[in-house]
Symmetry: C2
Subunit: 450 residues, 2 copies
Amino acid sequence: MHQDRQRILTVSVKRLLRRGATSRLKKIINKTHGADLSTLFHSLPTKDQRILFDMIDEVEQKGILFSEVDTDIFINLIDGIDPDEVVTILEAMPNDDVADLLKELPDETADGLLKRMEKEGSDEVEDLMRFEDDTAGGIMNPDFIALNQEITAREAIERIQKEFADVEMPFYLYAVDEHNKLVGVCSLRQLVVVQPQTPLKTFMATDVLSVQTHMDQEEVAKLVARYDILAVPVVDESNRLVGIVTVDDVIDIFREEATEDILKMAGVGEEFVETQSIFKSTRIRLPWLFASCLGGVFAFYVINQFEASLSRLTYLAAFIPVIMGMGGNIGTQSSTIVVRGLATGRLDIRDIWSVVGKELAIGLILGIVYGLFIGLVAQFQYNTILLALAVCLAVICSMSVAALVGSCVPMLFARLNIDPAVATGPFVTTAIDIISVYFYFSIATHFIGV
Amino acid sequence: MHQDRQRILTVSVKRLLRRGATSRLKKIINKTHGADLSTLFHSLPTKDQRILFDMIDEVEQKGILFSEVDTDIFINLIDGIDPDEVVTILEAMPNDDVADLLKELPDETADGLLKRMEKEGSDEVEDLMRFEDDTAGGIMNPDFIALNQEITAREAIERIQKEFADVEMPFYLYAVDEHNKLVGVCSLRQLVVVQPQTPLKTFMATDVLSVQTHMDQEEVAKLVARYDILAVPVVDESNRLVGIVTVDDVIDIFREEATEDILKMAGVGEEFVETQSIFKSTRIRLPWLFASCLGGVFAFYVINQFEASLSRLTYLAAFIPVIMGMGGNIGTQSSTIVVRGLATGRLDIRDIWSVVGKELAIGLILGIVYGLFIGLVAQFQYNTILLALAVCLAVICSMSVAALVGSCVPMLFARLNIDPAVATGPFVTTAIDIISVYFYFSIATHFIGV
């Protein structure tokens, strides 16, 4: 339903652009939501993007578009605009969004724009730009309601109406002491329920959940989700309140992190490549396949070691795919469960031995089930009990080891502070391939005694 | 940091339970957040869960715990409690949470509890239970602020303070007509800004974004995220307002759907199995491996067809792993990009031909790169130009076909309204394995002319 609407928008704007129907276009552009406008811009050539951008009446809407489009479109857009207009648009945007945008620009361009901005705004933007992108400081909103804990509920209401009328997400009132340190929190509703002359400090909640500026954004997001709160305050090293992270940002973080995890596990880098050009996409995917290629070449040399067995018992080759496949699949299961468990907080890296032990047990059970099945196929086909036994044992070994490696590696990576998702794609499967093939030929050679 | 706190809580509660330090326990339990309490309960035996549960003073806190714990713990808990107390707890909970809980119980138990509840509440709960779990109706909150569009801002403020003081998430005021149909929306802030005697209908926004009760929860979540809103109204077929979906539910949906996708793609079912017992986990994972096992047995028969070639050119076997590995990995890349692109809305099923065409092109380019590399290895090892050519061509074919199959299958599944993530795990990789092996031996047999 929604995608239909977007498609109709794109098709009609393209038609109107061809016809040069400026007044119709102006009307459509100015009543379309910024998020839809951004999707529209992604399917238009730069020339048309500029034409439409100039048709936008409100400077706020231009700012929303700046935030919503991908970086390369943003850079193309400001390339064709007078720097003074760019500054006017930036000054109408929330400072955290401006900081995010300027971080994407070359240093000189960003500095040039900052110099043209009013001092108060540009100082705050520069402060925000110092934080790493994916930390609480990098995503926080510097607009929030904070008042001294000594003032009364009535004063608080008056000051909120006067000074904080344009705070974007006014969920909570944070109480601070004379050094601006966070000491309490209360909901706006509490303010109207208590007696007007009650000071904040007598009814505020004092065990405030807060995060430090350098905390990883994923950790921040987990806290907000876990305690079902609408915003979490961000403090610096001395517990001074510097910003808040709101629930709408948390949604973006979860989507981004889940996509990143999935892509890394499949070995396609971290960024979403589908919307990029064929050559760019190829370049991103190429190195991830290299691990798999090297592993395959290594497996080739392993098999070569057993050429003597193979040349006498050709049929051994026919079981290579099933043994590799079973090991590979159970290894993927194990590593996925561990990576996702760590990401969602259902598993803790300190549980490493119980998790790995459990995976090993599961690998052993499933290995016996499928080992017997595949052994029966071998027996049925060749009527050689020793071959059947060798195949059965190879499947059991391959699946147990795969479950062990698949669960161990991401756990160890997490302990070493390497993102476990990276470990889980081509690297683990390739390692498992080599181990499986080696076990299989060793066991077969030993059993059948070639 | 957070996990440390949780661990300290668990360790100290276990120690206090052993010592029977009731008053200390009571103090701790009653100041711990419901989410933390739930995690604690998951690591305690049923007996201790009951002891701690009885120590909770506030009926609301008991309700929060009911919502937070897994279903089996909830069932164990209410098993030991007087039904009248269960009803008291349920009546203190939001009705949508009660509906979610009762859906998990056997029909007679749920009916019994509903009969004991007060009529007004139980009617609403029963209404909510009719909706499918993962639709807008199934996740919506029936508590919202709705007023007739004819009343003035002043009246609206008065009525909100009187009638809607306990609405959980009071972000927006929805305006309805005399038939209760949704006609507009305004923010609570607007109410205080306009002249008190202005009727709602003159300043409310009239193009309200709303969803129908049967809309899939993932679609609802995408809308909320796309337009950065805090709540979306849910309407029935006649556009009557029946509930709202709030931003905190959207977070849960995204986390749930991302985890589901990842698990399905890895072939581990839909539910998170790590926290389940070894045997339950084994049972869930067993059938997903069966596809891979059958595929492997099929590949076995394919290779058997080429026994004549194999027995003369044993070394052909040594390339099986690298050819299967390269095909499998690029196929996983393609299917992951498509599945995730569809899930996040960056790809549209109507773009099937351009997406598949692009993947095929990328598969071909990467196939040529790696085909040449692996062909060189073959040439270096055996100094047989025809073998090198055969290996090179087999890699190119295998990788192109894998990219094609990997992108086609999830697209086709999505078109047929089957969840594309299911298609992407063992099924696609197994199909690619068989195709790769077949291509390889056909090409080799043809080239080297055995």
